[in-house]
Symmetry: C2
Subunit: 424 residues, 2 copies
């Protein structure tokens, strides 16, 4: 396999080698806890072997339903919030070239009436199907969207509505499960031992992605190869976990994910949930932020170069982007670009990346570089598993349970009180 | 005028009142420096009276050119990076309802060959015009995009190309100015005393926005009213500047802008440049980050509620969003939503906002609330000026020059060396 490559060299000079060795040793013991199921929250480590255990029967079932949605839909509407849409959007936006399949739209990740109205305008004269992703079926945002969109589908398609609604939910209980059983909607299971932010390689991501035409075999294969590789030590994910905790010990409290392709914008959002929700607790955690370069070198670049030195960067580089363009020779040099005539944009973009790493490092910002082969499902499958694994190890190193999210209820409880929900 | 409202109450308990009074007093003296032109970087305070001085002649000239572009284009392509596109995109995405005018696309804010290719595919069979926004005309990203797009326009439209290209650039010098004079392209001036991140209310923003059908009179009127209001003390922008510096003194090194409408996504990006680039220097600065709620309550919500207590939030609330939808009564309650049947989504969204402020405050995160009247040009004009003014005062309080960006050159210098640019 062509594995993603982790490059920690641009961190040189920002840490003590003896302390790094110590941190790596600690990380190794955390990996053992993870595999032996003795760490905190071990009831939620189903993702650990998931890509290796995904079998043909499961994929076949997903493809059967997905194929039907794909055939009869202009749009697939994914109803879900947090981990119930971010992984799907991260993968869908990344894959290039896109299939001819239906575009995925998103609902139930907002309470904005304007966004809901915009969506209804967009689908008015189109054929649509719904993937409703919710363990309980009672989360406010997706539940509101589902009320509206199920009504729309039923009104438009009558008895054939059931061919267009798929539930991805609990195996046995919850509103979506009950509804699917009652109405005859297809349903797929979100495993009990996998939390939302770790769920993209379960039916949560696989069903809508397959419906849109993404090759989910490739996606799972990339993750599976990374899972096999990560069974041994040393491995890249463990080193990344060790390094970021070492940098935190040195006062680097903010990690900025920097990418050079717009296609990775929502991957950075998925990553922010993964690390922010896993580590941000008990007053701890590295604050995850993101930038899209080179655009944001002209907005956040100044801060990163010379601001408060409490930051480090993790850069994702795509070695072989899907398309490229040549910089034209215009026969003149008033724009100072003649020296680049005939060169390709991707060559300049990659040079900008290497130059920025140098500049920021010299400015006091340690950099971690991750090289990806291309914009395929296989590559992002690797990247997803890489971060899932490293997040678990990193959370253990930090001393928290990386698999719970006790703080997410706080705003809901306040909201239910104010809205007068029965029982609050 | 209906002014935006600043609410600092959700900061109560996070600061010492005597220290607040002291900080406000310091802020007042900084406002005097700003108006008297005695502060650092005072040669770049042209934005201060700009909206009050924008005259009918200037607006008429802009509208004449913009009207022509608007009539003959399906798309307006804005070529520019940093302050040469973020303000335009922030305003364009915000305004609702949209005009029937051409959509604005963006180029020259990336070096990605894939993004350039996607753009060329999109415009292949469309009529397009270019607004090229660059003081020097030699910034790498926009210069590359302009080479490609000017070629495209010339090839397609021949001698009529010049009706479709507009330069927004230096009054006298630089590659774009020279080119416009040579080729007979319309050109508009970026004033010498206004930096990129402060330029959205100059032709930089006004030309492409007017071309797309945005009512720029409204936009300027909102800013002008805020400018008049801010001439006296106390004013909201000064109080905001004082409060965020006080919170920084108390260890809050990260400011998160939280919004509840997707339409504000790029406003948060504009704001991040404004504050990040103005304050992130000399090892100082509050790190600016952003979230789109309620979506991101299910990703970054956990961290904000319970992670490292080095954060505060600034929330933008739109009191009257442009559209709304009712939550349907489905005659059942399996989703636990019956208590909301008949209520509107915007009511629930606003309640979620108030509840989240409460929850985060209780979790140790001070909140600053800014209420906007609606999604009009007038409202965002106010908001833009509010932040421009407060950023200047805040930078002075922090002890930096809020109008320079010495660190932005660092990556360019490294890049030019690696690319072999003559002279490097």
């Amino acid at each position: 396999m062509k594995k993603l490559e982790l490059d920690l060299k641009p961190c040189d000079g920002f840490f003590n080698v003896r302390e790094y060795d110590k941190k790596v040793e600690q990380a190794y013991s955390k990996v053992h806890e993870l595999f032996s199921g003795t760490g905190r929250g071990n009831e939620y480590t189903g993702w650990l072997n998931l890509p290796l255990e995904t079998n043909k029967k499961q994929i076949k079932d997903i493809k059967a339903t997905a194929g039907r949605l794909r055939e009869n839909s202009d749009y697939i509407i994914n109803i879900g919030i947090g981990g119930s849409y971010l992984g799907t959007k991260a993968v869908y936006d990344f894959i290039s070239p896109k299939s001819e399949g239906p575009e995925i739209l998103y609902a139930g990740n907002t309470i904005s009436g304007t966004q809901m109205k915009d969506l209804m305008d967009k689908i008015r004269d189109k054929d649509v199907s719904l993937c409703v992703v919710s363990k309980s079926g009672t989360t406010t945002e997706p539940a509101i969207a589902f009320r509206i969109l199920e009504g729309f589908i039923k009104e438009r398609y009558g008895v054939k509505a059931k061919e267009r609604i798929v539930g991805i939910t609990d195996a046995k209980k919850g509103a979506v499960k009950v509804l699917c059983d009652e109405m005859g909607y297809d349903s797929f299971v979100i495993p009990d031992n996998i939390g939302g932010r770790y769920s993209v390689l379960t039916p949560v991501g696989l069903v809508p992605l397959a419906a849109s035409g993404v090759d989910i075999d490739e996606l799972v294969a990339g993750a599976a190869d990374m899972a096999s590789y990560s069974k041994n030590l040393p491995n890249d994910a463990t080193m990344y976990a060790a390094m970021r905790n070492l940098l935190l010990d040195g006062g680097k409290t903010i990690e900025i994910m920097a990418v050079y392709e717009e296609s990775l914008r929502f991957f950075t959002e998925w990553w922010k949930q993964l690390f922010g929700e896993s580590e941000g607790k008990e007053g701890k955690g590295i604050f995850p932020a993101s930038v899209i370069f080179s655009a944001d070198l002209h907005s956040m670049g100044q801060y990163i170069q010379e601001g408060n030195r409490n930051i480090f960067e993790t850069v994702i580089n795509i070695k072989n982007p899907p398309f490229d363009m040549k910089i034209p020779d215009t026969g003149q040099d008033s724009d100072g670009l003649a020296y680049l005539a005939g060169k390709t944009m991707n060559y300049v973009n990659e040079t900008a990346m290497l130059a920025t790493i140098n500049a920021h490092r010299k400015g006091g910002v340690p950099n971690i570089l991750i090289n990806l082969e291309d914009q395929s499902g296989y590559s992002i499958g690797q990247l997803i598993y890489f971060f899932e694994f490293s997040c678990a190890v990193s959370g253990y190193l930090l001393g928290v349970n990386p698999f719970d999210q006790p703080g997410v209820e706080a705003y809901k409880t306040e909201m239910f009180k104010m809205l007068g929900k029965p029982g609050f």
